[in-house]
Amino acid sequence: MGLTERQIERYSRQIILEKIGGVGQEKLLASKVLIVGAGGLGSPAALYLAAAGVGTIGIVDSDKVDLTNLQRQIIHYTNDIGLEKVKSANNKLRALNPDVTVRTYQTRLAAENIAGIIRDYDFVIDGSDNFPAKFLVNDACFFEKIAFSHAGILRFDGQLITVLPDKSTCYRCIFHSPPPVGAVPSCSQAGVFGVLAGVIGSLQATEAIKYLLGIGELLTNTLLTYNVLTMEFRKVKLNRNPNCPLCSKNPTVTELKNEVQPVCDLKRGVR
């Protein structure tokens, strides 16, 4: 399709990178990435993907911008309070880069709608804020065979892993099913360091771009953990789980379902 002069100038700093070049830039412009959640992780991911010229960015979120979001959700501004997050994000991305087509989905993902939404994308970034959604994204990406980046953040800790369905360790290989309600605190209960969302969300965008370009080594079979206070990054090698309820030879999860978090019954265990 060829790049325009404006595009060559806009993306010049990455086009001169040997592993990207004009060919890589054209690939990015032809690529589609879906971001689940326009929140702490989704904000930096969306902004960097738009800046890099990923041609189509989908954003799923059912919420509106709230004052408490602004400490870390950098795609939303004070005058966006009350506005749908997907609209707020759309405004910023279009202003940042008119090359990008933004598709917005103001909905909650569920077993009934997720496959139809993700099917059209090359890569998914999971920046959702709850366990049923994280399991749903994992399962839907497995059934549709779409690569994705999983991440979670809490207090001063974050972690992420890239999943190539049926080829590398998936979220259910690590955690079989959602924890009971209340067993694992949420960011609103336990707090979260704002910049941490930026670090981890930016790493998710990094993985998306590397995947789209086919460069470097992905965080497959590898959980990257990061702690703000110690400034330590650790790569934890995680082999696929032969007892995974989803991607093993004898799966128990064979179709999409809406995971319900059991009410807190800690003695029951979750694996």
Binding site: A38, Q159, V184, V236
Partner: protein
């Protein structure tokens, strides 16, 4: 014996099982933790019977739900 837990060397009693190690290490809500031993996930029913030996590498893996969106 010496164990390597989440990348750090730890001195521990001999003949611990994964269940007793979780207690010894004062892991909060051990029912929520996934455990990898020398690169392989350990099934939860095997936590009581898997005996650790010197030099074992153990990873405790914790749920992190936040994505920083909504009211999480």
């Amino acid at each position: 014996m010496k164990l390597i837990i989440n990348g750090e060397q730890v001195d521990s009693k001999d003949n611990l099982t994964i269940s007793t190690l979780l207690v010894e290490q004062k892991v909060k809500m051990p029912e929520m933790v996934s455990v990898e031993l020398n690169g392989q996930f350990v099934r939860r029913p095997d936590f009581d019977t898997t005996v650790l030996k010197d030099g074992d590498r153990i990873e405790f893996l914790y749920f992190m739900g936040g994505g920083g969106c909504g009211t999480d």
